[in-house]
């Protein structure tokens, strides 16, 4: 029980840190007038969506033990962004389950094992990020545009979500592995 609680708490704080860094970056961009003011617009993604990498990293590190924590932070962030009821549950689930399905696809089809993320090559991680971004962007695209309440064009949506997911997840995972190596942190899952 305590194992689950600890893994969930750790996952929660890893993803929370990613959201915090992501929101700080947006605030900084707004203060420097690099982007339009008015907070994050869900219709148009960011070019550095760090939380996707955090979800994937937590899943690889803690497995199913960390899922409750991930789900909690995902729901809290959906509440924070005041998502519409038609996409609220779907977006919260896609955030958590998208990386799970992507990593499980890699494992089930024997492409990469991702048992010890520290020993994975940079190209392997980049490949994971591309697949993660495809799963995440396409699922959100279908959810968003099949509900028929969108204001942005489909092209703008995909053209911002996809590169943002790839770059953001890659930056976060590489940074997290760097931190793990500096502090000699081990893999939680054996």
């Amino acid at each position: 029980m305590s194992k689950y609680l600890l893994a969930s708490l750790n996952s929660f704080f890893i993803v929370f840190f990613a959201y915090f860094a992501f929101l700080s970056l947006i605030s900084w961009q707004e203060s420097m007038e690099l982007v339009a003011r008015g907070g994050l617009n869900i219709d148009i993604g960011s070019y550095l969506y760090l939380p996707l990498g955090a979800y994937a990293f937590s899943w690889v590190l803690y497995g199913k033990q960390g899922l409750p924590g991930q789900l909690l932070i995902s729901i809290l962030m959906s509440l924070y962004w005041e998502l519409e009821s038609s996409i609220f549950v779907q977006f919260a689930l896609i955030n958590v389950l998208g990386p799970v399905i992507a990593v499980l696809t890699f494992r089930a089809l024997e492409v990469y094992k991702f048992k010890d993320i520290k020993s994975e090559t940079t190209l392997g991680i980049l490949f994971l990020c591309i697949v993660l971004a495809l799963f995440n962007s396409l699922s959100k695209f279908f959810t968003f545009f099949l509900t028929n309440n969108h204001t942005t064009s489909a092209f703008d949506f995909l053209a911002t979500y996809l590169p943002g997911d790839i770059i953001g997840s890659f930056v976060f995972i590489v940074f997290a592995i760097f931190v793990m190596k500096i502090f000699h942190l081990g893999n939680h899952q054996k």
Partner: protein, 183 residues
């Protein structure tokens, strides 16, 4: 000479599978887009004969967009869509080889699960690239998400079905034909 023969084989394989998909499309509404066998034929041609058959596949895709498009394409759009359809699997094969996720250029000692992974990711990338190109140029009559969802699942099911059937039954069928001395 061998490359030319392989290109003709690839062209025939892809074009006949397009015709089969179109034939089924006339029987059941939207069937063509839900199981698009030509995607699997294209993948199989690339796996069997290598990247040298790109011209044959490209020509077959051009014929597809010229003859069986349900929108009114111009020549630039036809060439672009055919190029996307042809080069996306090659891009994916290269990416998989570079990142050591599986060598699709060499069929010896290949893991069949890697081929499944290759088909899944290529179907997603191909649907994405094609629709991003089309979304920037034309307005869809229906919801863009529905069109893309149909294309994605069509390529995914068509690809997996074609490659599975070919890998399971191609050799026995070839042996029967060989016995009949057609080959």
């Amino acid at each position: 000479m061998n490359i030319l023969k392989n290109n003709i084989n690839a062209f025939l394989l892809v074009f006949v599978s397009i015709l089969v998909s179109v034939f089924f499309g006339t029987l059941i509404e939207n069937f063509k887009s839900l199981i698009f066998l030509a995607f699997g034929a294209k993948i199989l041609a690339l796996l069997l004969w290598g990247v040298y058959v790109i011209p044959g596949i490209f020509l077959a895709k051009i014929m597809q967009y010229l003859l069986f498009s349900n929108f009114d394409p111009n020549i630039e759009m036809i060439v672009s869509l055919a190029a996307i359809a042809t080069f996306t699997p090659v891009l994916m094969m290269t990416m998989m080889k570079i990142s050591k996720a599986g060598n699709m250029f060499n069929l010896e000692n290949i893991n069949f699960r890697h081929i499944i992974f290759f088909i899944i990711i290529t179907a997603m990338l191909s649907a994405l690239f094609k629709h991003m190109y089309m979304l920037s140029d034309i307005d869809f009559a229906h919801n863009a998400a529905v069109v893309m969802l149909e294309a994605l699942f069509g390529q995914l099911f068509g690809g997996l079905l074609f490659v599975y059937v070919a890998s399971k039954y191609a050799h026995p069928i070839y042996q029967i034909i060989k016995k009949l001395k057609f080959v």
